[in-house]
Symmetry: C2
Subunit: 117 residues, 2 copies
Amino acid sequence: MVEISSDVIRGYNDTMILSILMKAPSYGYEISKQIRSISDEKYVIKETTLYSAFTRMEKNGYIESFTADPDPEGKGKKRTYYRITEAGLAYYKEKCEEWDLTKEVVERFIDAGATQS
Amino acid sequence: MVEISSDVIRGYNDTMILSILMKAPSYGYEISKQIRSISDEKYVIKETTLYSAFTRMEKNGYIESFTADPDPEGKGKKRTYYRITEAGLAYYKEKCEEWDLTKEVVERFIDAGATQS
DNA sequence: ATATTTACTTCAACAGACATAGTACGACAG
DNA sequence: CTGTCGTACTATGTCTGTTGAAGTAAATAT
C-alpha cells in the first residue's frame, strides 16, 4: 500500500493546518482529527509535528493562540486554540500558488520518466 | 514571484534525478542543467543537494556510479556517471504512486481552504 | 595569460519531522 | 473508588535532507 512519506508532505503541514484554521479557530487534537478525516485516513499527522508547527507558526506571526473553555458553560479543561492572522492568510495564499507551480514542475518529471517505462 | 521552496520539493529531488537517469545514465553537471531546463528555470537544484542525493541513493542501491571519459576518444576529464538500478526503478515507481496520492490529499486541503476566502 | 565554465568534494550548520516519554484532566465501567 | 481510556498537551533528543561556504582542478574561451 502506498503511503505518504513525511519528506513529501513536509512542505505542506503548515498549509494544511492553515487551511483548517481558515474556516474557524481550532486546537491541536481537533485539527489532527480533521487532517485524518479530510485525507480519508491517508495522512495522520504526528502529535509532535503538529504542536511544533503551532509553535513555529505562532513565532512567525501566522497564527495566534488563546485559551478557552471547551463549551460555553465554562466546564471542562481549558484548551489552547489557534486562529489564523492576516500574515497567515497571506502566507497560506502564497503556499497555494507555490503548490500549483510545484505540481506542474514535478509532473513534468514524472511524465517524462513514465513515458520511458 | 512565486518560487518553489526547498521544503516543498524536498521529497522529490530523488524522484526527479531518477526520472532523468531512466532515460540514460548521466552525471552531476548534466543532470543539474536538465532539471533547470525541464522546469523552465523554475527549479534550480543546489550542487550540494544533488551530490549528496547521489551519495545517498547509491548507498541505498538505487543508482550505480561508474567513471567514463566525456567522449569516445578518451579525451578530457573523466566524469562520474550514474545509472539507475532495478531497485531504483522500483523506488521511482513507488514515488510516482506516492505522488498521485499526495497530490490528491494536498489538493483536498487547498480546495477546502480556497472556498472560504 | 587569465577568466570562465565544467565537475566535483568536504564540512559544518540548520530546520522540520519524529520517537520516546511524561503530565494531567475528565468520563465511564466494574 | 479504582482503573482504564480518550483528550490535550509538553519536553527532549535524534535523524535526515538541504544548504552555505569554501576549496580543488581540469578544460575551454577570450
